[in-house]
């Protein structure tokens, strides 16, 4: 009787590298699961850890933060801030009892359509295996 679990994954993609990488995946017609929804941000450094927590609270099963490779940030240092905040967020998640595998950070450049699609497939599979995120979900 089990219904197939379709995860709900939020991906924050920086405008200059990863969002363009996603465009590249699209233009090259690479396939990845329809479980991923992208939110465009100017820089991965714009991603507030509270956004991540809010996502879990509102029912997201996984969150992915994608930014420019180290040294390539359009704003020079935003991705480094993002990385630190990501580490902070994972610690906070462990504290709350959310599996830290539900948050992933990746450097995806504008040329890496292949990588974008691969990461999306991998992450979607990871989350599918973990099952729905019930821990932090807001009570209806």
């Amino acid at each position: 009787m089990s219904v197939e679990f379709k995860p709900n994954i939020i991906c924050f993609a920086c405008n200059w590298c990863s969002y363009t990488g996603a465009d590249m995946a699209g233009t090259s017609r690479m396939k990845y699961p329809a479980t991923i929804r992208i939110i465009r941000v100017p820089c991965s450094g714009r991603v507030n850890p509270t956004f991540v927590m809010k996502a879990y609270q509102k029912g997201a099963d996984g969150v992915l933060i994608a930014g420019c490779h180290p040294g390539d940030c359009h704003y020079n240092s935003g991705n480094y801030f993002a990385k630190r905040r990501f580490l902070l967020a994972t610690r906070f998640m462990t504290f709350l009892g959310i599996d830290e595998k539900r948050l992933r950070m990746e450097w995806i450049s504008a040329a890496e359509g292949v990588k974008f699609a691969r990461v999306m497939r991998e992450f979607s599979e990871t989350i599918s295996k973990l099952g729905p995120n019930l821990r932090a979900r807001e009570e209806a």
Partner: protein
């Protein structure tokens, strides 16, 4: 509730084959806040844009969502269309249902469901949109160029030719920089002065260029288009306006001392001009060496000067200038020899660096172009050149390649062989990097025609034995130890940022890298812009490079300045950070995070109950802010936000996507 219009694009079959666009627009019609929803074959076409414009006007829409291709493609198209219809362009958002739905998914049902959810989340974002207006920033059409070497002069001449005033500041008493010290240039072996002096002369006489030599920039405030800088003009002790450049003073001055321009290879007088073609051709008294400054007696220069222009009482002057753009062309220096103990530099007179070799090979140098060794003036029968002295060396903290040494060492060896036909020239190298037009051929010429011996390997030590220099190294190709007796050793020392570059960077608020070279705004796409808007980079200030590359980059920087000056106002992107002063606590945690130094404290007056109170808050310089949003995350009180990607917008989008 705002009146929002939704337009779903078919993009021919590109979207409609995998996303049921009709279903999407039908479903959106019933979504809260959506007043109008429709689908159309090609929204980016002229009729498509007309439809959008007409719908906005007819329905008095307050925001629109265009579900089509990537915003990187047509965001500006649709925003311009909306603006033409009287809607603020920042109330237009794009949902990317092509690159992110139709092209990457094959199941039509899934793709349609995802597309609809994406559109709904964008509707939520538009509900929180605000009117944003680009700011017009006034502009002073005058550029400050720092550094009078080949890069700074190129920038100055290009901008001056375009008709804009230029202030060229040089810390030395004359312009020309390092290039003026070179003998010949690779790979053509044409004489450096011959190609440089026409440029220096032109800079000297150009009506749009104000030359400030013997000067340094000590302060810079303001932002792009509107900087105020302070330039310190050091005293020359000679009234250059009166001086006619007869140089009698130099001739008669009794005090000789080592010349900086000759890098210790030659002498100069206490009152002197660095070299015969110097621009401006005016002498300067060195306070440290002048007999009068030391003892209060002498004044021979005063006696011989026919125009009475010696001014011992001259003091430094601070000049303030308003300018619109700054070009940093501060150039390079060579690694101080103290750091190269293993090669005996500083200990043995006959171990010299590349620039010193340039001086003894230069026709206008202290030896008049005859290559003589410094210790006894003899013509060396054997010279060993050591490449990568300090460069590509992690232990010296300089893992980078200095880029020019392979070429100039080949040139040095060639110049030597052309003079001393039976002399032996040996070059120790790690790799030959001769990437440039005619460069590889040049190195091959040195090897094949001039019989320069290239040994691949490192030198362990240079020491003296029975009055001769001994170079001990290893030939890594044969694996054998090599011992060469040499009359002269020339080190291709690492190129380092010019002394004082770091301090200059701090003055101008421009970042430098680990080694002190100025950081470009983007390593590929913005190589001549710095992270600080309105400050551009040229030449070796940014990284080691040769003359052709320097000139290209300098011309690029000049083009950037000219483009900036071609407008009467500067327009700033309104999608920048903003502070809610009511809740800002003035902690300024945001300040160190900003890569553009756009955040400064400000004292504001706020009403607390019935009385006014003065309080510190953060304020954004909209001219400097580039809209990355890093500060908004660092803000503890939530006072910092980013227009166009506000916390509210992202959270609404997020909530909608999580459902």
């Amino acid at each position: 509730m705002k009146k929002i219009g939704v337009f779903v694009c078919w993009c021919g079959l590109n979207i409609s084959s995998t996303v049921d666009v009709e279903k999407a627009s039908e479903e959106l019609k019933n979504y809260p806040g959506v007043f109008y929803a429709d689908d159309y074959k090609y929204l980016c076409s002229d009729p498509g844009q007309e439809l959008i414009k007409k719908t906005i006007v007819d329905n008095k829409l307050e925001g629109i969502v265009v579900a089509a291709c990537s915003p990187n493609m047509h965001e500006s198209t649709f925003r311009a269309a909306a603006e033409a219809a009287g809607l603020n362009p920042y109330r237009v958002e794009i949902t990317n249902i092509r690159e992110q739905a139709s092209w990457v998914h094959s199941n039509k049902e899934d793709a349609t469901a995802k597309a609809i959810q994406l559109i709904k989340s964008t509707v939520e974002k538009v509900k929180k949109s605000e009117d944003l207006f680009p700011q017009q920033i006034p502009l002073t059409k005058k550029v400050l160029v720092i550094g009078g070497g080949i890069s700074g002069m190129t920038v100055a001449l290009e901008v001056a030719e375009a008709g804009y005033p230029v202030i060229l500041v040089e810390k030395e008493p004359q312009i020309g920089g390092n290039m003026a010290k070179l003998s010949e240039t690779f790979p053509t072996l044409d004489c450096a002065s011959c190609i440089l002096t026409p440029k220096t002369a032109e800079v000297g006489r150009h009506s749009n260029i104000t030359l400030m030599t013997n000067s340094e920039v000590i302060e810079s405030t303001g932002y792009f288009g509107n900087f105020t800088v302070k330039v310190k003009r050091k005293p020359t002790f000679v009234d250059w306006k009166k001086c006619i450049g007869c140089m009698l003073c130099q001739e008669k001055c009794p005090k000789k001392t080592n010349s900086d321009f000759e890098h210790g290879m030659g002498k100069r007088k206490a009152i002197s001009v660095a070299f015969p073609q110097a621009i401006p051709y005016r002498p300067i008294i060195s306070e440290k060496e002048c007999i009068y400054f030391k003892t209060g007696k002498c004044k021979i220069c005063v006696k011989v000067c026919p125009v009475d222009c010696i001014e011992f009482e001259q003091e430094e002057k601070i000049i303030e200038e308003n300018i619109g753009a700054i070009v940093v062309a501060s150039g390079y220096d060579l690694l101080p020899k103290e750091e190269l103990g293993e090669y005996g530099q500083g200990k043995y007179a006959d171990v010299i660096d590349g620039m010193q070799f340039e001086r003894i090979a230069s026709a206008s140098g202290p030896t008049e172009g005859v290559i003589k060794r410094p210790s006894d003036g003899k013509i060396p029968k054997s010279i060993v050149f050591i490449q990568c002295a300090g460069s590509r060396d992690n232990q010296k903290g300089r893992p980078y390649c200095s880029k020019i040494c392979c070429m100039y060492t080949a040139k040095h060896a060639m110049l030597y062989k052309h003079q001393v036909h039976d002399g032996e020239a040996t070059i120790f190298y790690m790799d030959i990097r001769a990437g440039g037009k005619g460069y590889e051929e040049f190195v091959q010429r040195a090897i094949e025609d001039d019989h320069v011996l290239y040994l691949r390997g490192r030198v362990a030590r240079v020491y003296e034995e029975d009055g001769r220099l001994v170079v001990l190294g290893v030939d890594t190709l044969s694996g054998e130890q090599v011992r060469i007796e040499a009359d002269l050793v020339v080190l291709a020392t690492a190129v380092i940022p010019s002394i004082g570059a770091k301090a200059l960077g701090q003055t101008l608020k421009v970042g430098t890298d680990t080694y002190g070279f100025f950081n470009e705004a983007h390593p590929k796409l913005k190589p001549v812009e710095s992270m600080t808007k309105g400050v551009f980079l040229a030449g070796c200030a940014q990284a080691p490079r040769d003359i052709p590359e320097t000139v290209s980059q300098a011309t690029g920087a000049a083009a950037k300045v000219i483009t900036m000056f071609s407008k009467n106002h500067l327009v700033s992107d309104p999608q920048v950070a903003k502070v809610n002063e009511k809740i800002c606590v003035g902690c300024l945690l945001c300040k160190p995070i900003c890569p553009y130094k756009a955040i400064e404290p400000e004292i504001v007056e706020v009403r607390v109950g019935c009385r006014a109170e003065k309080r510190q808050v953060a304020t954004i310089n909209k001219g400097l802010c580039q809209g990355c949003g890093a500060c908004s995350v660092a803000c503890r009180s939530g006072a910092m936000n980013l227009s166009g990607f506000s916390n509210e917008q992202i959270l609404e989008e997020l909530k909608s996507l999580c459902l």
